[in-house]
């Protein structure tokens, strides 16, 4: 029986290289398709139904891991990565096939022998293997995406251009009449987002609301004092202006 495989990698030279190596190590294997991104890999798998898919993890658009999630029960998967410690550890732990770039002949031979053995015992990938890969990938991707959900860039209109300010460089946000004032070391600008929206989108570890109309970047606080009326007064680093902490938010500054 002739087995078919596809190779997916965004770098043309590397697809060619793997193809040549495979031709030496496993001449009977037919490379029926080469894909330059995840989307065309999925299409190829759909139309050509190969037995094996060599998938580069890092591809533009749909990544190799995403492709794998869709095809885990349909064909056998060999991941390829240049450098991805987490992924490699996970593959190692779960005995998933993978290759690291640059691919060596010895390593490829090992993988090929394993694939041959697996294919002989059952041409279809076992169902539990598919489940396992899905689970593994969910874990891996969850890991990579964790903590990236907070607002990181403040986009402000600046003449005809949209300027991007990293959130961590903002000293504080102050509610204005219609807009919200963004104050940084370099100056002030206006955004449409309200203090309320900002308080929900910014990382609450790094930004504290200290007043109905003020959100401050915690890392920019120099010290906090008390005014005569019992409110808190914040002094910011490298700034002369002070901010008022209303009673409602004073608990944030209680000694730990």
């Amino acid at each position: 029986m002739i087995y078919k495989a596809i190779i997916a990698d965004d770098e043309k030279e590397l697809r060619t290289y793997l193809k040549r190596m495979l031709a030496e190590v496993w001449p009977q294997l037919e490379i029926c398709g080469e894909a330059a991104n995840g989307k065309s890999a999925l299409e190829m798998i759909d139309s050509l139904s190969p037995h094996i898919a060599f998938l580069d993890i890092k591809m533009p658009g749909i990544s190799g891991l995403d492709v794998a999630k869709h095809i885990a029960g349909i064909c056998r998967i060999v991941f390829i990565t240049a450098f991805d410690q987490y992924a490699v550890e996970a593959f190692e732990r779960e005995a998933v096939d993978y290759l690291v770039k640059p691919v060596t002949k010895e390593r490829l031979l090992q993988t090929v022998n394993r694939l041959k053995k697996q294919l002989q015992s059952s041409p279809e990938p076992p169902a539990d293997l598919a489940e396992m890969i899905k689970k593994l990938l969910t874990g891996l991707q969850g890991n990579a995406n964790a903590g990236f959900r907070y607002l990181q860039w403040i986009k402000t209109q600046h003449k005809e251009n949209v300027r991007l300010i990293p959130a961590e460089e903002v000293d504080y946000f102050q509610a204005g009449n219609k807009y919200t004032l963004v104050i940084t070391a370099e100056g002030e600008s206006l955004i449409k987002k309200s203090i309320k929206e900002l308080s929900q989108e910014l990382d609450p570890q790094k930004f504290w609301q200290i007043h109905r109309g003020t959100i401050v970047n915690v890392s920019k606080i120099e010290n906090v004092g008390r005014s005569l009326t019992g409110r808190g007064v914040l002094k910011l680093k490298k700034r002369s202006d002070t901010l008022t902490v209303s009673r409602q938010y004073l608990h944030l500054f209680k000694q730990m």
């Binding site: 770098e11 030279e13 240049a82 990181q152 860039w153 600046h158 300010i165 990293p166 961590e168």
Partner: protein, 358 residues
């Protein structure tokens, strides 16, 4: 003026601490006992007990008066502080002496008053001199401690600045070489050796050049913009082989502008960002455009890409933070990094540095 304000503030804080009050109390107590002894020997009244009681009650009264008026009035300048202390001394001596008369009368059956052998006047004069000497001694002690603390604080501040600059340098070096980039490039070279050895060779040379600059532990103090641009060209040539038709680039830096000196590794992270976050993850790829202009003693270098751009929730890379930190260290407020949306898509990063300071 500012200095003075902090100094009196420091005295205030100093006497808020129980330990300091205790130590100074012991000093004052010892001084008063000595004073009582001296008065017994040379004074008009050769009985130690009344002298002891008088010295201590005056001492305690003066100390408490100074302590409390300091707590309540919090003088901001030395002049104010000395006026208050002077009033406190007169007032404390008077009250203290009265109290000592009462104590002596009720507990020891010794009857004294202001007229007894001119006691009042002499005690007040001796007390005033003693109080001034003690106060002077204590203030000198505190001021010394204040100076030491200021020196210490200055030292810590300086060390913090130094540390910051070292860290910024270190982070910049660490952030340079991306393992993905390195191993993918090596794979490409390995492949090209078989198929197109000439191309493989030139890629290997480019990589060597790139690594030599990126890995060097110490950066050259001064480089020109042209040198930095040639480094970037090497990097982009490597990426061009990897990404093929997905990457195009254009560099527009005239020889004239290229002669300006420019800090090394300030532009490179922006170009790497453009590839890593903009073009590499984009299926169709795109273009990088680097342009330098000179205006009003300001050197302005622009790195624009037509890549994916930043979504609001993408974390800014270390590259951008490092570049801004270094600009700040090198040029203060005169160096700027501006990041904008490129139209119709992508990111434009602009570095502005003063030409004179380069």
């Amino acid at each position: 003026m500012m200095e003075e304000k902090y100094e009196t503030e420091f005295i205030f804080k100093y006497w808020l601490k129980f330990k300091n009050i205790l130590i100074d109390g012991i000093i004052i107590g010892t001084a008063n006992t000595t004073l009582a002894l001296a008065a017994t020997i040379i004074g008009p009244f050769k009985n130690f007990l009344p002298n002891f009681i008088m010295a201590h009650s005056m001492g305690i009264a003066v100390s408490l008066a100074i302590l409390f008026s300091l707590l309540i009035l919090r003088p901001r300048t030395w002049k104010l502080f000395l006026i208050i202390a002077g009033i406190d001394i007169c007032f404390g001596l008077f009250i203290g002496l009265q109290i000592s008369f009462i104590v002596l009368r009720y507990f020891f059956n010794i009857f004294l008053n202001w007229q007894t052998q001119n006691l009042g006047l002499q005690a007040i004069i001796a007390g005033f001199m003693a109080s001034s000497v003690i106060l002077y001694f204590l203030i000198t002690k505190i001021r010394l401690r204040y100076r030491n603390e200021m020196i210490e604080r200055e030292k810590i501040k300086r060390m913090a600045v130094e540390k910051e600059s070292i860290l910024a340098n270190l982070r910049m070096l660490q952030a340079q070489i991306e393992p993905h980039f390195l191993f993918n490039t090596l794979s490409n070279i390995l492949s090209l050796i078989d198929t197109r050895p000439e191309k493989g060779k030139s890629m290997l040379l480019d990589l060597t050049k790139y690594l030599r600059t990126s890995l060097s532990r110490t950066l050259p103090e001064k480089t020109t913009l042209s040198q930095e641009i040639s480094m970037i060209t090497v990097y982009l040539d490597i990426q061009k082989i990897r990404m093929d038709e997905r990457l195009n680039y254009k560099i527009d830096v005239s020889n004239n502008i290229g002669q300006h000196s420019f800090p090394p590794m300030l532009l490179q992270p922006l170009v790497e960002n453009a590839i890593k976050h903009g073009l590499e993850p984009k299926v169709d790829g795109g273009e990088i455009y680097i342009k330098a202009t000179e205006d009003n003693n300001l050197l302005k270098i622009e790195v624009a890409d037509t890549g994916l751009g930043f979504s609001d929730f993408d974390k800014p890379g270390v590259g951008i933070i490092n570049v801004r930190e270094r600009l700040n260290l090198l040029f203060g407020e005169k160096g700027r990094l501006i990041i904008e949306e490129n139209k119709p898509h992508g990111v434009r990063a602009i570095i502005e540095v003063p030409i004179n300071d380069l």
